[in-house]
């Protein structure tokens, strides 16, 4: 089962929690104070990290869809 990651940049407040949980999937644009999605469809070995990132996002800006 593959996953698709969606970041709501409107909601994102640059907390950086996502990049601490899943650095291969999320980065941060410091001048904009917004997350950067590095890969939209990460491989399944990153699932636990991506799920954690979505869970600890204070802005609840991350959605993980199962494809």
């Amino acid at each position: 089962m593959s996953m698709k990651v969606i970041v709501d940049l409107q909601a994102c407040q640059g907390y950086a929690c996502c990049m601490m949980e899943a650095p291969a999937v999320f980065d941060l644009d410091e001048s904009a104070g917004k997350a950067i999605l590095l890969q939209e469809t990460p491989t399944d070995d990153l699932r636990a990290q991506v799920d954690s990132a979505a869970r600890v996002c204070p802005a609840r800006a991350i959605t993980v869809e199962n494809g």
Binding site: Q13, Y15, A16, M20, P23, V56
Partner: protein, 391 residues
């Protein structure tokens, strides 16, 4: 296990419930909450929700149907008043006994009040969404607000009210705000930042008393200063909401005392969130963390422990504060730091590192959050202080 009772309709509670279901628990779940509301998000209550006027359905952590889908029976507007571990019963304030096989304690914190000062008239506190609604209604441009306590909540309320056009003064006992947590140099940055936006700080000020009057209150400081306030907000800290557990057999000591996996002294009872005191081996420290991210992770971890897992809970704590245009993010621990190293500091940004026992333990970034991931990893790996701080 057939019946889990979660006490406290909190962030930790939501994640404990989610954790129970994700880990395959299929039995009953009962959620008890003292407030009439479904669990909601507190951080916005001193920031954007306070500015805009909080609406409870906008700060809900989960939509109402989530609880039905997760098979959660709600007992909202009901306070737990006693726990009887021998009979495995928790008693509610209407006398109803709820039986449990497993229990999650997630009752959070209660704000401290100024009761030692006697009759101080109307002083607002900010903890619940109802508090935020009441406070929002009084934040009228041109009014003078006095905030008692320059902690994070106090400074956030000061910033929000100032942005709404109020004239804001903050009274703080310590000579520098946040100094107990972050040290003088970092605290001074926040003071300057607040003052640059027009907030007046009265630091090193002992509060002698508040005289309520028809047209507002007079705030008397020990140095003779008298501040006139149209409204007063006290942000003087919180205490863990454990009063109802006195005498129950659950071991208490400034919170609920837990083992490394968040189990309390009573079988079948775990704790999560602000109330939990546990040993975090990563920092070699018994700690209690009153922060959002901890409530999420601890709720989930406590659920796994309740279902039989034995893993130690060893997080690197994270918290944030937004004041005007300063987005402060912090990882790790700053308490009892032996070294504080300010790596970068200007009008709009800052990076500061906190060390103890020769290792990096904490890092603070203002408008510079990209570094956090690197520091968080260094704290987890217990990287020597000398390797992080360039000479």
């Amino acid at each position: 296990m057939r019946r889990v009772v979660v006490v406290g309709a909190s962030l930790a509670a939501v994640h404990a419930i989610e954790g129970l279901r994700d880990h395959g628990y299929a039995g009953e779940i009962v959620l008890i909450g003292a407030e009439p509301h479904l669990p909601y998000d507190r951080p916005p209550l001193s920031k954007e929700a306070l500015h805009q006027g909080p609406e409870v359905d906008k700060v809900h952590l989960r939509a109402p149907e989530w609880y039905a889908d997760a098979g959660v029976e709600l007992r909202l507007g009901r306070r737990a008043t006693a726990l009887d571990p021998a009979r495995r019963i928790v008693v509610l304030d209407d006398g109803t006994p709820e039986e449990y096989d497993g229990m999650v304690l997630a009752t959070g914190s209660t704000p401290k009040t100024l009761s030692t000062l006697g009759d101080v008239g109307p002083v607002n506190i900010l903890r619940t969404v109802d508090d935020a609604v009441a406070l929002h209604g009084q934040l009228i441009p041109g009014r003078h607000l006095v905030v008692l306590g320059a902690g994070f909540i106090g400074l956030e309320v000061a910033a929000t009210a100032s942005e709404m056009g109020l004239d804001v003064s903050v009274v703080e006992l310590a000579p520098v705000p946040l100094t107990r947590v972050l040290g003088d140099e970092v605290g001074q940055w926040f003071r300057t930042h607040q003052e640059a936006h027009g907030v007046q700080l009265h630091c090193g000020s002992v509060l002698d008393g508040i005289d309520p009057g028809a047209g507002g209150s007079k705030i008397r400081l020990h140095n003779g200063t008298v501040l006139s306030a149209d409204l007063v907000v006290a942000g003087v800290g919180v205490t863990p909401a454990t009063g109802w557990l006195e005498g129950s057999g659950v071991r208490l000591a400034d919170g609920v005392v837990c083992d490394k996996s968040l189990r309390t002294s009573v079988p079948g009872v775990v704790a999560a969130g602000d109330v939990t005191r546990w040993y975090n081996a990563l920092f070699d420290e018994e700690m209690r963390v009153e922060q959002w991210t901890n409530a999420v992770e601890q709720g989930r971890h406590a659920a796994a422990s309740l279902l039989g897992a034995d893993e130690a809970y060893t997080p690197v704590p994270y918290f944030w504060s937004d004041q005007f245009n300063a987005k402060m993010r912090f990882v790790g621990r700053a308490n009892a730091a032996e070294q504080v190293h300010v790596e970068r500091m200007d009008d709009t940004s800052m990076v500061a590192l906190f060390g103890r026992d020769g290792v990096l333990r904490g890092a603070l970034c203002v408008n510079a959050a990209r570094r956090l991931a690197q520091y968080s990893r260094a704290i987890r790996d217990q990287v020597p202080w000398g390797d992080v701080v360039e000479p």
